[in-house]
């Protein structure tokens, strides 16, 4: 289903897409967001804005999206099911669309336990797959979640979802991806990949089921600043696999940051060779400024233009 999303046009026309991630600040100034948007706008096709990532209170993703649009970059608004019930979600997304947001990424959201409001009550009125399904239905069948018709001006988002090839049970991961596609996901951004071997097995299963022909898969990558960062992801973040050799490589490196960037570039280059992958999603956590170099040196610059 056609939308006004540039990202969708790019992907549909067979280009290898590049998206990045911008984490909104823990304050009320958009200065940083705008700065990053300026910096990234020629190097990526669209940028995700996280929705209170890891359950830490941050500037709203929809508000951030408006600033980013203002800087001439296309935002992908992330919407989690953690903080809003179906009323709030619909209302916020109608608003987002009215402000020019065209891309939507639906997620469950990290549990509040590790955020800065651990005593908060979570909502989880609906889950990510239900959100995908309901937003698709809102667009294509002009229905509110409740089934009540939308008379006019239904929001027409390019709907995305996430997939995590590194979570368990592994053999069900592809099935669940398919479930999301069934629900209406048109593009997929994966969890950041370090265990390339496992990701390739994942893609193999994706291809077996022909899912790559029904959805655009963007492989997630993350440049690491230090071996400690790697170790942290390896041990303390559930649903992540970081092979020891990566930790070792960073440990040995005299300039770990450089090494981190090198590793990331190697990964992107490798990922481009994997059939069925339609783009990369670069999550430079609190390190947005390295994205241009990574894009450039991965041979993904300049970015194609589409009407």
């Amino acid at each position: 289903m056609k939308t006004e999303s540039k990202l969708q046009k790019l992907l549909d026309s067979g280009h290898f897409a590049v998206t990045a991630e911008i984490g909104p600040p823990k304050h009320a100034s958009a200065h940083g967001i705008r700065h990053h948007a300026q910096m990234l706008k020629d190097y990526v096709d669209a940028t995700n804005i996280t929705d209170c990532q890891t359950a830490i209170v941050r500037l709203s993703s929809i508000a951030s999206a408006v600033h980013i649009l203002d800087c001439g970059l296309e935002p992908i608004v992330q919407m989690t099911c953690r903080d809003r019930n179906r009323i709030a979600i619909q209302s916020d997304l109608l608003g987002a669309y009215s402000l020019g947001v065209r891309n939507l990424l639906c997620l469950s959201g990290d549990h509040q336990k590790f955020g800065n409001e651990p005593s908060a009550k979570n909502v989880y009125d609906i889950d990510s797959i239900q959100l995908i399904y309901l937003m698709r239905r809102m667009r294509d069948e002009k229905l509110f979640f409740s089934g009540e018709p939308i008379k006019e001006h239904e929001p027409r988002f390019f709907i995305g979802a996430v997939a995590n090839p590194f979570a368990d049970p592994f053999e069900f991961r592809v099935a669940r991806l398919e479930k999301k596609v069934e629900a209406g996901a048109e593009f997929i951004q994966t969890q950041c990949i370090f265990d390339m071997e496992r990701f390739e097995r994942f893609m193999e299963m994706v291809r077996e089921r022909g899912i790559h022909e029904r959805v655009h898969i963007l492989a997630g990558v993350t440049p690491l600043k230090s071996w400690r960062a790697a170790k942290y992801l390896q041990t303390s973040v559930s649903g992540m696999i970081v092979p020891d050799d990566i930790v070792e490589r960073l440990k040995k490196a005299d300039d770990p940051k450089r090494e981190g960037i090198e590793i990331c570039i190697e990964q992107i280059k490798h990922i481009r060779t994997i059939p069925g992958v339609h783009g990369v999603h670069i999550m430079a956590i609190a390190w947005e400024e390295v994205v241009p170099e990574i894009v450039e040196r991965s041979g993904l610059y300049p970015r194609p233009k589409v009407e």
């Binding site: 099911c81 953690r82 179906r86 469950s108 959201g109 990290d110 549990h111 336990k113 590790f114 979570n122 989880y124 009125d125 609906i126 889950d127 990510s128 797959i129 239900q130 399904y133 309901l134 979640f145 996430v162 997939a163 995590n164 590194f166 979570a167 368990d168 049970p169 069900f172 099935a175 669940r176 398919e178 479930k179 069934e182 629900a183 969890q191 559930s238 649903g239 992540m240």
Partner: protein
């Protein structure tokens, strides 16, 4: 059963600090079975409070009794003559018992001695686990007899989410991922295809989100 755990003794004492005489009411129902509010606990609490108060030079008089259940009016009716001359009632039952006492003895100060935790069962002696979210609309037949509403920390109906790893939930290594359990069970039962169906949003109006609930059985109502 309902699982409850006793509040810190200091908190309980604080609730009745201005009382001279209190009635402690245990409950021979769930809280006895989960070892937190039977006759034994009731008397241990009474004794502890008395000692505490004597140490403060402000002796406390206690009356203890254990009701067969605190969630049926008939069982608390007989407390009336005991309640008369006390300044407060401490209930060792779950939240239900506390409220039944408060409703029945509306002019009395009724306080809870327990934190009502959840509905669950015992794993081994002394270990209890939550099992039911009281959602009012059971879906266990669709999830291999494992409840994602209460056992998945995100109540996801189309799980498992990306936080599930090595069979554990993202919130803690000691919490099983309910969806891993569901997956394993459905696989063992040869019903994995069921998990491919997209579960529709849940109708929470049947849970407490629809407001305080009431169950009525016309056929058994008397008179």
């Amino acid at each position: 059963m309902i699982i409850a755990q006793q509040k810190p003794i200091k908190d309980i004492a604080a609730m009745i600090e201005d009382c001279k005489k209190v009635l402690l009411v245990g409950c021979a129902g769930c809280v006895t079975v989960c070892l937190s509010g039977g006759e034994k606990e009731t008397e241990v609490l009474a004794s502890s409070l008395r000692i505490m108060r004597r140490l403060q030079g402000n002796p406390l008089e206690t009356v203890t009794i254990t009701a067969t259940r605190q969630c049926d009016p008939e069982y608390i009716e007989p407390l009336e003559n005991l309640v008369k001359d006390v300044d407060a009632i401490i209930s060792l039952a779950c939240g239900v018992g506390v409220q039944y006492l408060a409703e029945r003895f509306h002019d009395k100060w009724v306080v809870p001695a327990q934190n009502t935790m959840f509905v669950g069962g015992s794993r081994t002696h002394g270990v209890w686990e939550e099992r039911c979210g009281l959602c009012g609309d059971c879906i266990l037949h669709r999830t291999g007899g494992i409840c994602p509403i209460i056992r998945c920390s995100k109540s996801i109906l189309n799980g498992p989410c990306g936080g599930s790893q090595y069979g554990k939930c993202e919130i803690s290594k000691d919490v099983d991922c309910a969806w891993q359990l569901i997956y394993d069970r459905m696989k063992a039962l040869g019903k994995l295809d069921k998990l491919m169906e997209i579960q529709p949003p849940k109708d929470w109006s049947k849970s407490r989100d629809g407001g305080p609930r009431k169950a009525i059985r016309e056929d058994v109502m008397i008179g």
